[in-house]
Structure formats: C-alpha cells, structure tokens
Symmetry: C2
Subunit: 430 residues, 2 copies
Amino acid sequence: MERTIGVGVLGMGVVGEGVARVLATKKDLIRRQVGASVDLRGVLVKDQNKPRSYELSKDLFVNSIEDLIQNPEVDIVVEVIGGEYPALDYIIASLKKGKNVVTANKEVVAKHGPDIFQVARENNVRVLFEASVAGGTPIVSPIVRDLVANDIKSIKAIINGTTNYILTKMAQEKSDFVNTLKDAQSLGYAESDPTNDVEGIDAVYKLAILSTLAFRARIRDTDIYREGLSRLEPQDFQYADELGYTVKLLAIATLHGCEVQARVHPALIRKEQMLAKVDGVLNAVEVETDIADSIMFHGPGAGSMPTASAVIGDVVNISRNLVGDSGFPDPLKLSENIVIQPITSLRTQYYIRLEAEDRPGVLAQIASVLGQNGISISSFIQKGTNHEFGTAELVIMTHEAVEHSVQDALNGIHKLDVVASVGNMIRVVE
Amino acid sequence: MERTIGVGVLGMGVVGEGVARVLATKKDLIRRQVGASVDLRGVLVKDQNKPRSYELSKDLFVNSIEDLIQNPEVDIVVEVIGGEYPALDYIIASLKKGKNVVTANKEVVAKHGPDIFQVARENNVRVLFEASVAGGTPIVSPIVRDLVANDIKSIKAIINGTTNYILTKMAQEKSDFVNTLKDAQSLGYAESDPTNDVEGIDAVYKLAILSTLAFRARIRDTDIYREGLSRLEPQDFQYADELGYTVKLLAIATLHGCEVQARVHPALIRKEQMLAKVDGVLNAVEVETDIADSIMFHGPGAGSMPTASAVIGDVVNISRNLVGDSGFPDPLKLSENIVIQPITSLRTQYYIRLEAEDRPGVLAQIASVLGQNGISISSFIQKGTNHEFGTAELVIMTHEAVEHSVQDALNGIHKLDVVASVGNMIRVVE
C-alpha cells in the first residue's frame, strides 16, 4: 500500500485557509512530486462555527493541540497561528511528540529559532520556516542550501509589504504618513493596529532570521536597531527625489570580520539601485556574498496563497524525506501531453522599422497591407529623412497581432514599390 | 573515524579552477556544513603541464576518466568540461559506476537531461546542475524545490551575460553591433567565436532546462524559436527608448493549457519592468506562478567563482545526503564569537532636514557644529521659506560620518538659537 503523509494545521486564518486550499486543489501535483499522498488530518481552530472563505469538513476540526499531536497519522504539523504564544508552546509540544513542523511564524523563529532547532534535533525531526520571511519568495532555502559555499557579507532587504506600500504611495502622491496609513488600512494593506508594521517590528523579526542564517551566528531581534516611518514628512520624499534618492524602509545587516551591524530604518537609496525599484507590497532581499557576488530575490512578501506556496513547499520537502527520498526532487517526473507551439502562432505587439519613399500616400499603402492581414497600428513615427534617395525611416508599433500575419504583412510591405527596405521587426514583451 | 567525501573534477578551465579553489579555501566551512570533510581526489585534464591561475598538486592529475570513476574514494564527479562530447559520455560513465554527478553543462543538460536523469535513477545516484543556468544565481533548485506547490505559467529571463552586456553598451553608447562586439571581446565579455552567445544558442539551452523544470514537461532546445542580435541597428535602441522601451535578448516560455510557446529573441520591454533594469553581464529570471505570483531571481550569470558557488552548493547538498543527513541544512550550526555593533558605530552618509532662520551666517553656524563633530557636508539645499516666522527649510547631505557624531551634532544644532527644529535625519544606504 502506498504510504500517505498526514498533515495537521494549527490555525485557520488567511494563511491556514490557503494551506488547506492548496493541499486539496493540488492533491495530484503534490502526490506526483512526493511519491505519496499528502492528506489533511486535522485543523485546530478556536471557533469551529466561524464562517470561512474556504469551507472544510467539520470532521477535521479538533479542539486541542493534543488531539493533533497524539494522532499517529499526523506526520507534519503546520503552525500558522502567528504571534509568540501559544504558537511556541504548540511547536515545542509537536516536536517532542516526534512531529515535523512547518511554521510561517517570524516572531517565534526570530525569538526562539535556535531553541526550537535544538528540540527538533533531539527528537530527530525537522522544522522548516520558508514562509516566515518574504512570503512566497524563496529566500530561507536559497541561503542555507544553494548559497552554502558562500560567506555572506551583507543583507539589504525590503521585507515589510505594508510599509513599502505606504512609502510608495507617499512618494507617488506626495501625501502625508497619517492619511496614507488610513488609505492602506481601508484597502486591507495595513492592519487596524499597524504598530508591528509601521514601527519596523515585523521587519526586525525577519532580519533576525535572515541574518542568523546568513552569518551562521545568532542575531536576536533585540540586537537590531529599529526606527519606524512616523517621522517621515512629504517634503522628505520630494528632497530625496531631487537628490536622486528613493525612501525605503530597509532591513540591513552587515558582517565585517566578526562584527555585525543590523538595523531597520527608513533609508535613502539611489534611484538606480534595484531595491529602489521595488514598489508596492512587494518584497526583495539582496544578498552580497564573497563568491557568488550580489544576488537579489524579488516577489510577494505576504498574502494567503503566496505564503501557502512557501508552507506547502516545506511540507512537500519534508514529505519527500519521509517517504525515503533524499530530498532532491526527481527532475524526471514529467508530463507527456504538452504541445509546442511554433513561433508563427505567437500573439504580441510588434515594432517594425522600414525605409520608404518620403511622399504622401505611402503610409496609406503600408497601413493597407497591415490591415489586410488583420494588424492595426498602435503608433507611427516618421524619423530621419534621406534626401539623396527621397526616403524616410518609419517606425510602426502594432497592436497585438499574430506572428504569421505579421510575417505575411512584412512580405507584402517589402514588395511595395514605395518601400526601400524592411529594417527590423522586434517583438514586444509585456 | 569521520567519513570523508571524495570529489573528482573533469576539466580545469575557469570554472574547474574556481571549484578547486573553493574546495581548498573553504574546507572548514564545508566540513561544518556537511558534517564530513569533502576532499578533492583527482582532476582530469588534457595537458598536465599547462600553467594555471590556481596551482594544484600534480599528484591530483589523472589521464583518463577511468582513473577517476574506478577510484572507490571518489563519491561525486564534477563535470566542468563544457560542450556536448566527451562531457556526456563521461557523465553517463560516472553514473553507471555509481558516482553522483554535479555538472555546469547547459548543452548536455538541455539536450540529454531526461536520459541522464534516467541513468542516475537506475544507478541510485543523483545529478545536480544548478550551475547550468544563471551561474551563481539560484534558480534550478528554487523552481524544483521551493516553488514545488506552484504551476508555473511563464518564464521570462535574461540568461546570457554576453549579449546583455552588448545590448547595454549599444543602448548607452549608441554604438553598432559589430564594434560593440569587438569591444566586448577585447574586455573578455565575449569569446573569440561569439556565435553561441550572440545567436542565442546559449540562451536556448538554458531556456530548455528552465522550461522543462518549470512546466514539468520535456522542452527540447530544438523546440525553441531562436533569433540573435545581428539585425539590431543603433536607431532601434533610440526609437525603442523614445517609445518607452528597452531592447533585451529575452528567453521566454509560456504555458497555456497544454501548449508551450518558447522563444529567444531580441525584444522590446517597457522600461518600468524590473527585467528592463538588468544591465551588463547580470542575469535575471522572472517566474510567473499560479499561487506565489511573480518572483524574480537576479544575479551573476557566469564567472569562475559564481559558477563555483553553484557547483559547490550542489556538492555540499549531495554530501549531506551521503553522510546520512536528510538534505535539510541544520540551522543550528552557528558560530559563537560574533559581536553586535550598536547603531552609534554605523558609518554612512546622512540626510538632515532642519528649519532655521533665513539670514546670512546661519549655515556657517550649522556647518561649524557639524565640523566640530568631524562631519563634512556633501551638499546643501535651501528649500521653501516661511515668511511668517522668517525661517527656511534646509537640507544637508553629509559625507560618510559616524552615527554617534551625527547624533552629537544634531543635539548641538538643535540648541543653536538660529535653528527652530530638526525635522528629520535619514540614513543613506549604498
């Protein structure tokens, strides 16, 4: 009989619902990747009757952590309650019962990570926590696994989506902090009590986790200097802009010799830097290393589904180990019924440059060939004129069109008497 | 006795030298991360007497692949010869002898990946190939492991550093292709025979690997439409710029239902897009997924040490398995002698905004306080005047200074009669 892996989930907030939803809707994908079925065996919630956006069978609800961790059919406990207590107690209790743990809890990992890892090691189980930093963007695993040959010299990160959203809006709309925060709250980008985000506490937790992993040394949240957004005035954004800078809440940790400097505060960063271009609720982590140079990871920092992506990634990787696999995904698990489309069926916009006679009616002839092929023009520019030959260079941007029609049209245009040559066609990518 | 892991290296070009160098210089780090020593046991080279930038003991050189794969002390074979043959034959021979393989060879993985994985599986060993795409930037492992819960919808990537360097230069210097290529060759950014790079062949190999992994379906190099740089003229860059676009050689693969469209060609991409900002020899891969949204990985795409970073990462992860570990790095392997520096010892530039009386001599007083604290001014702007109070807003950017001096200076400035208030101080981040 095929082995099945049992999962128990602690908490059914937005992330918990995402986890339950992905486990159900991606059952086949997960089974194929693991080589075993991964089944939800129980969910610990406070209020079983609360209406939820993702409805679960009532049979899955349990009243106490004991109901989950005493269940021999639960192999992995997913902790998505958040906050320090009771999450920490539940994690420790699960590990002591021999359960593997996947957690999205930055506060618990930042404050108690090394203690938790110690308990896991003593009980010969694992704790994974990819979702605790930067939501669905892989960063924990790349640092500890892919970049293992590197000594990491610094981390520079935008790891709080709420504050990055507020700063982006303040810069774009020249608005003040209090009103921008209110707007962010009404849009659901900031919580009703925004303290953890706007005072930089959330970013400090995440930086404590990242710098502990990067420097292979325990960096506590209390080791990190912290300053929030509240002193920023609209004119700071204007002056920063004039000076060539963008204002970002950066989380920075640097290692010089055996000295660590770690801090979270509003910072001016040159507009040309990639981090300056990270807008809205997105996150980005830039890691500077000794041998792999500087690497940036950029993506969603929160949200139900992105965070579930990281949680399920950890669940799958533990499951692969539980079924006796080494933890390396087998690249051979391929699907068979994929069809390759030829370039001629591509649909996109096109840039076309051509040399044509510089006289009235020429554009009409060209547009007519395009139109016969179902291609409409989005913009048209006549560039430099060649007086010797009486020609001009024309640049045409099309609306979305199909490649084979564009190829046909270019053949037709090339044959027009008024066209000297088709210089180039370049596809536009969204 | 502690187990040791033996490594044999095929080829001693720039990447091979990087691998040998990292294995030697990072011996302690690797031992700590693996829980066993990882030792170089042999190197297959064509010419043992060729001078090398990293000198190896002559005892390590072997003449034939058999000398390495018949050696029971070699656990992992690292293939960094490049090209299709004999690399493919050596990889297959190694796997059949029960050796794990780490390869940086995009051509072999693109053309023969699934066959190689099959042989590995039959012999119960592994093939890892992180270095085959985007050099030191983790991308293979994040796709197959961290993003495993996702269905990937598209890949958009800049995965050839040579062509991105040429395009960046053509855009900046309005130069033509032929001359820019010559410059790139003289600087070592393009090979003497640049065909594989400028015709997009190298990018096709990498896209075949990425799209096979992302779509979990075999996408061959021959399935991918390919167009190189040679038709681009200087005016294309100018017109693209005027239209709001940047010209990049993009590698794109999209999956709609069960249909794949994969292509490598010069493309216009909107300047605001992150990929448009990837300049010079850097690489970036943007992955669009169903649940983790859009994620970008950005970093070095080639080079001796970055590529060695990826190779050694794979070697370490196989070694972890060989010593009986599950492949999850233990986050507890921490160093003890790390010192946390307080924010007061930070050295950076500072932005200072203050409100002061709008009359001659005021700046002198402020500059004097800064000077007494060893802080020099990089720029100074007088902004809006408040006529009612006779004050003006001043913005000062300092040269690099130490935080405690800045704090002292701000206290001193605050006490000046001519200063109404210190509005804000924001740290600048390089």
